[in-house]
Amino acid sequence: MGIAAMLGTSIKRREDPRLITGEATYVDDIKLVGMLHMAVLRSPYGHARINRINTEAARNHPGVVAVYTAEDLKGAVQAVPVAVPLGKIAEGMGVRGPLAEGKVRFYGDPVAVVIADDRYTARDARDLIEVDYEPLPAVVDVEKAMQPDAPLLYEEFGTNVPFSMHPPTDDIDKVFEETKANGGVVVKTRMVNQRVAPVPMETRGVVASYNKGEKKLTLWSSSQIPHLLRDLLSAQVGLPQHQVHVIVPEVGGGFGCKLNVYPEETVAAFASMRLGRPVKWIEDRSENLAVTIHGRDQVDYVEVAATKEGKITGLKVHGISDLGSYCQVFTDVIMIAFGFPVSCGAYDIPAIHLSADIVFTNKAATDAYRGAGRPEATYVIERAIDLVARELGKDPAEVRRINFVKPEQFPYKSAAGAVYDTGNYEGALDKALAIVGYEQLRAEQQQARAQGRLMGIGLSSYIEICGFGPKGSAPVGLYESARMKVEMSGDVMVYTGSSPHGQGEETTFAQIVAEEFTIPVDNVTILHGDTDSTPEGRGTYGSRTTAVGGSAVFEAAQRLKEKMKQIAAHMLEASPSDVTLEDGKFFVAGSPQKAVTFNEVALAANFSNTLAPGIEPGLETTVFWEPQACVFPFGTHVCVVEIDKETGEVEIKRFVAVDDCGRQLNPMLVEGQVHGGLAQGIGQAMVEGVVYGEDGQLLTASLMDYALPYAHELPHFETDSTVTPTTVNPLGVKGVGEAGTIGSTPAVANAIADALGVAHVDMPYRPNRLWEFIHQQ
């Protein structure tokens, strides 16, 4: 009987048994002998000078082992790493040590740490630290921060703007003039992509354990990047890489915010090295909302020119990225490196002008959050399309069709820089419109409007860039690794440099291996997260795990399959090129009755004393797989809303998502990623938003104040897909982790503008804001 093809089947996850019984180990579940607990004292001000810190009472509190400030770290710990320091950042602007020195620049800025016997004692003692602050004026509005009279975060640099990019506009101006002269239109608007908090259900945490005898630091961290964390943190604390062992246990969500090296991880490591005892730090939710990196926070000025038929002739985007008060790893490049290249979206736009300002403000640092630059860019282009449609009185679906990159144009070099691999944008649009019943809905909308009801239909035909990444796409090589061993029992162990935290690759990677080896998927085990056992890898983010990590696994399976064929051929006294592998057996093609099983070959490879000459014993290989290009998932989302005039409340009546992530290895897991992505994208549009007072006080400091969608606040999603494989990797897969988020936010925004019959309304679409908007009209 044949082994069923594994790829493309929705098997249940291997991860689940330990998770549904409460037997999984997250970082706060780790308890080591002699372990101490760290509590962090943080700035209550958005901007202040530190005149004095008095830690004496805290040090003397029973149960306290140590109290550290920046003073104690001098010379022992290097700055928080910044991958690509642009402009003045390369001179040190926005680059900081783990604890505040001389100034605090945002609410929550870490000032001191207490190390004590237990977590309650650490917090008691933390309350005893006295800090003499001199509050300073703060600036939290990014455009105000650019003004000459704005309070300065880094006075020595004389500005809050470390880097700007303002290329000459002659060419784009000419395009706009010609378009107008020919009877076309130019539409412009300002739009805000508001600051949001990633809010993984598990906050951050670390256990650092330094063994003085072995001079070895073991670090458990709720992280997305075991190897990068090891590489960067070892440099920060002055240890050779091989003396740092990072173990990533179960991680309760990341969404990009755990793709980083944070001050607390470094300070816990430092403390453990000083004290020779394990030190645990677990972030509480209030800290998480204040200091774990925030997402988005971009203001865009967009101008778009189109012929009167609706064909876009040019696009001008000026993006202002709010960095917050300092740089974490990717803070300064999110907009410019990740968003800008896909500014043209799914459309064949001949001319684009991009300009940028990146600005420091008295807020937490921004960095990668589900989509990282692409949601912002997609929001701009998808709103621009609707602005054009509105200006010309055309159906937004038609304007999309007119401008789509056509199937015959792939690989497509966009004027904004990215080269798109494959796509069928009209296919996804057609499918989404069919599912939602678009014509019928527009008719219903006419009726609703006649009755004075505010019904809106919003489309979003997005593309996104992911699967990082090829040479030159990042400051370090973004390959992925896989070490594969076939044990003598025939079981297969795979150690991947990917670091899944909910995405399910312990299942999908096992499916890849099972299919390639034609063995039961239960015979395959996927391991990850331990830098001592997994080869140098790059981690999970940027929707790269299956596209890049999975390809490394696939390649490793090919290599071992070839070797096993050679061994089998010797056992069968045949030529390797005649040997085939099917249903777990090696045999000469055409003669299946004389076969050796996969397990027999595995045993022979590991045990035999009669392997053919020239064949090295064992069955193990390590692959580092680097993609030649990024991949470009796409799709169309349709959102149908009705706004209650009396209350401003929005009901999302329907949400249809048709997404194309190329080949789907496990459709159930793909659908799950889309659901989760939609929830965050719709969450941003509808309710989310980090809010600071003018003085830099964080107002959304707990889940009482930071709104997140609950189960009854989200619609029932109608999801479907098209499949347009990529040629970039042997699996034909793109990525899907971020696509749902990227596509959904503009669909909601377009629906709201459509319902209100206006050009643009900024998010979030909370009842009070819409009510005010409606009643001002």
Binding site: G22, G672, H675, L703, L714
Partner: protein, 169 residues
């Protein structure tokens, strides 16, 4: 510092005698003293529900209770849900229907679902979504959680309605 108090709490059928500070949260008692780390902490304002357990059969958020308040009570955590090595139908539903991704909200979500189905064994989708309004999930978008609870409801109704086997009455 306040004097420690003696408490007796039965957790998943086992009786524990402990001395705790009055301010020790029940969730910390379960996780740090009893080493039952299946119950998770996701917030500090009782919003998220990751800490949900059963106290004398009714769901409570264990971050919002002190351990001393559980003196003399019976607590059931996620570790106590499976019976004799068999998964509870709710756990099964979450597995079958991909009702979890990172798994962090899952124990609390399962315990809250237990209470929901206890109150309403045949809930509609709407009733499930409203019934879980005390629990946050950031990964799944809730749709497969709804499917998981529906699966469990169906399974539990089937076995409740199953006729008594031969050899019984």
């Amino acid at each position: 510092m306040a004097m420690k108090r003696e408490i007796t709490v039965t957790v998943n059928g086992t009786k524990y005698h402990s001395e705790v500070e009055p301010r020790l949260l029940l969730v910390h008692y379960l996780r740090d003293i009893l080493n039952l780390t299946g119950t998770h902490i996701g917030c500090d304002t009782s919003q998220c529900g990751a800490c949900t357990v059963l106290l004398n059969g009714e769901s409570v958020k264990s971050c919002t209770m002190f351990a001393v308040q559980a003196d003399g009570a019976e607590v059931t955590t996620i570790e106590g849900l499976a019976q004799g090595g068999n998964l509870n139908p709710i756990q099964e539903g979450f597995w079958e229907k991909h009702g979890l991704q990172c798994g962090f909200c899952t124990p609390g979500m399962i315990m809250a679902s237990y209470q929901l189905l206890k109150n309403n064994p045949n809930p509609t989708e709407d009733e499930i979504r409203k019934g879980l309004e005390g629990n946050l999930c950031r990964c799944t978008g809730y749709q497969n959680i709804v499917r998981a609870v529906q699966y469990a409801a169906d399974k539990m109704r089937e076995s409740a309605e199953a006729p008594v086997g031969a050899g019984g009455e």
